[in-house]
Symmetry: C2
Subunit: 460 residues, 2 copies
């Protein structure tokens, strides 16, 4: 509980710099502002930028745009803000910035821009940089190819340790941090890996192929980014080499990109589970755009609500006879909906983290049914007793609502587990299943079940 | 959509090894089994172990326990399974395993065991290892002190580059990967950092203090783990040094631990938002334990359901007059509940990722109200028209339900945004707010509002 409070500190420190930026900008003190910006980490600057007004952004970017860290700043900034900024800049200027950036970051930036604008910027880039960027652009942005950096260190296995150290010393302009050295044979086929530190432990004349670790974990260019994240976190490695279909080494994915992938996938999962689309940048959209993104997801529950309305309408006679029946409709669907949300969240998260194994999914479903039985029995009898005490007429009303809660909770726990598993089986994102879809279905089934039980037991 | 399908592959490969383990075990082919286990990464072995029956686990652990990778295996294994295993082992045996492990992993293991058992194991450890473990045990497990490893490389700033390289070569038994070398002055005060690669670029006689980067990002032992994760991912670093209150360097937290923290915090957030507790290991609990963990969270919605029942009961007369009113109760609370879930999920996730700034929270709330207005107007008029066409008597019923949906959605979007922000302001985990709490509150307010609107407009 208290730990979330501490996190605030960063926000507070950020707020102080944000206030300073604003004040300096208002005073037109651009020299001071430039100094402050130079002292601030580009990632922090991106955070601050997000909280400026549009006018402030224009003024502040005039200064950032002249600084060395403009490339890093842009790669830390939210996509929506980057698009706004870039639209106001010349293609030549953007091409110059991209040339200075690591090519994987440059590609990420090009990929969020409108096609025409991106093409125009690419045309203004130098031949060599453009070729590197074009190479990366061919991969799906959510694959290892789309994530990887082609700027990394690799050495032929025939080299000696001494030569290898000299190469490391020479290639000082490398952009990606060097901690693993990948070792290749032939033209560029991956044969092993060695850490820079291990390299230092061996005599200078020894050949790399004799000291390298040849059991190297790699991914291919078309490996999905979630899978890459899984490999990096499962084996606690700092980078994973990416090979093409002929096992040629073409790039590396570093752990900092993996952290972004994990965060982004979690955010998408949260939004999907809430039935709020999967656009990670929804907070930066305008009110109207947000409403537009969210409206379709509410339509499912709207249609569901109409169906429930028709079902209740069909039991009009029974309700007229025992008006108290209406009072229990919300609790029956509420308890069902809540236990279903528990079940489906646990299953969806279990599928995402590998805790739930599709081969033994039936076990998980049985368990959820069991949990539904226990909790249904508990809350069902509890409500049954209260209803019996509160409504003596008809005498069986307590039993009816108790049974309804019981059956509704058993069914909801089971469906809450089954539906994400079925979705996954058909390669549909399981997270979608836990949102409005499950709760709407539970509403329809739960209310029908309840009124039907009432009809039978109360002889209506 | 298709990407989730690909992730399955790892599961399938795992399933193949799992089947092999099972078959070899059934045949009692322990030599083959030992070979298979030796070839399998401890992290993969932990995954396989999770899917074995209890008898199989006993047999398989007999073999893993004799292998070198037992420590790594145990640190990859789920807490609940570790506890089960350790209970069957002697304290001396466990102490020997812990001695072989990195001390931060050893501490993580001790921390999940029952206090008495952990104390007993510690007593069996060697003096030096025990001191190291005791040192770490004093920190909160969710702080930088609890996460950090004390096995890392640090060098005095007076050393020359040549001496530094020699030190790196000498200390070959280090457990934590060396990629950053931390540089200290005085007894052990942090003064800077240099990467091993940068070290190689300078002449052997140059002193570290002249080449190091003195602008080093650090955290203190009591920094919350979420904050440490934030620092590591914000600045794209591979490790962060941990200092005590006198700025003495006492450990480092590496990025692989940060990935675990990010995953764990996301899982906890998911479970809390679904009102299913925050025990990450809920899938490993028995049916009865799971029911016990989840029951209290359902109680909130049960009480809410009773309140809604009483509210509807209070409008018994109105319902008897216009029985059709009952049919619309579920859609009114459903639409409110769903838009509230959207709003609160977006806000909770925004707070967790730093997108929502508490200083400007009112802006986000206004925006949610705006979105509620747009969507409420849309779905309200839509339902109003349908109700008008379907129920000509009373003529105003369409207007009543339309207005109810409109007001309920505006209120729900606003509350869905406000409640997590208020929770956060009082340092309560915002994720709790989006679960049963918000939907229950919305149910109560939405239904009251609806019936009250009906009473006024229909002159009941």
């Amino acid at each position: 509980m208290e730990k979330k409070g501490k996190r605030e500190l960063i926000g507070n420190e950020g707020m102080i710099v944000l206030d300073m930026v604003r004040r300096l900008n208002r005073r037109g003190a651009s020299d001071h502002l430039a100094k402050l910006i130079a002292k601030t980490h580009p990632a922090d600057m991106a955070w601050i930028f997000r909280h400026l007004t549009e006018d402030e952004r224009t003024a502040v970017f005039d200064i950032i745009g002249k600084s060395e860290s403009v490339g890093e700043f842009l790669s830390e900034l939210d996509d929506a803000l980057v698009i706004d900024l870039v639209k106001g800049l010349s293609s030549q200027y953007m091409a110059d910035i991209l040339t200075e950036m690591a090519s994987d970051d440059a590609v990420d930036l090009l990929e969020i821009l409108p096609q025409e604008l991106a093409d125009d910027i690419r045309k203004h880039m130098g031949k060599k940089d453009r070729a590197e960027v074009d190479e990366l652009l061919q991969y799906h942005p959510e694959s290892a190819g789309g994530l990887m950096s082609p700027d990394f260190m690799f050495l032929d296995e025939e080299l000696t340790t001494g030569d290898a150290i000299k190469s490391v010393q020479k290639r000082s302009e490398e952009k990606e941090m060097v901690f693993y050295l990948y070792i290749t044979h032939g033209k560029r086929k991956l044969s092993g890996v060695i850490s820079l530190r291990e390299l230092l432990l061996h005599p200078a004349e020894r050949q790399l192929k004799n000291i390298m670790n040849s059991n190297v974990i790699s991914v291919t260019t078309d490996t999905d980014q979630g899978e890459v994240a899984h490999v990096v976190s499962q084996y606690n490695i700092l980078a994973v080499p990416v090979v093409d279909s002929s096992y040629n080494l073409v790039g590396i994915v570093t752990v900092d990109d993996i952290i972004d992938v994990i965060r982004e996938e979690a955010t998408e999962e949260f939004l999907q589970m809430a039935g709020a689309g999967k656009d990670r940048e929804i907070l930066l959209k305008s009110t109207r755009e947000s409403a537009f993104i969210r409206a379709p997801w509410l339509f499912a529950s709207w249609v569901g609500g109409i169906l429930v309305m028709l079902i209740i309408g069909a039991f009009k006679y029974e309700l007229t006879q025992v008006i108290a029946l209406a009072s229990f409709i919300p609790i029956v669907s509420g308890m069902g909906g809540n236990i279903a949300t528990q079940s489906s969240t646990i299953i969806v998260r279990g599928l995402a983290t590998g805790r739930v194994n599709m081969g033994e999914a039936y076990k998980v479903v049985f368990k959820e049914t069991g949990i539904g039985l226990i909790l249904g029995l508990f809350y069902g009898s509890f409500l049954g007793i209260i209803a019996y005490l509160g409504f003596s007429d008809p005498a069986l009303l307590g039993m009816v609502v108790g049974l309804a809660i019981f059956f509704s909770m058993v069914m909801s726990a089971t469906l809450g587990a089954v539906i994400p598993i079925i979705f996954r089986r058909f390669n549909i994102d399981a997270a979608i299943a836990t949102g409005p879809f499950v709760t709407t279905l539970i509403d329809i089934l739960g209310v029908s079940m309840y009124l039907w039980i009432a009809k039978i037991f109360l002889n209506l």
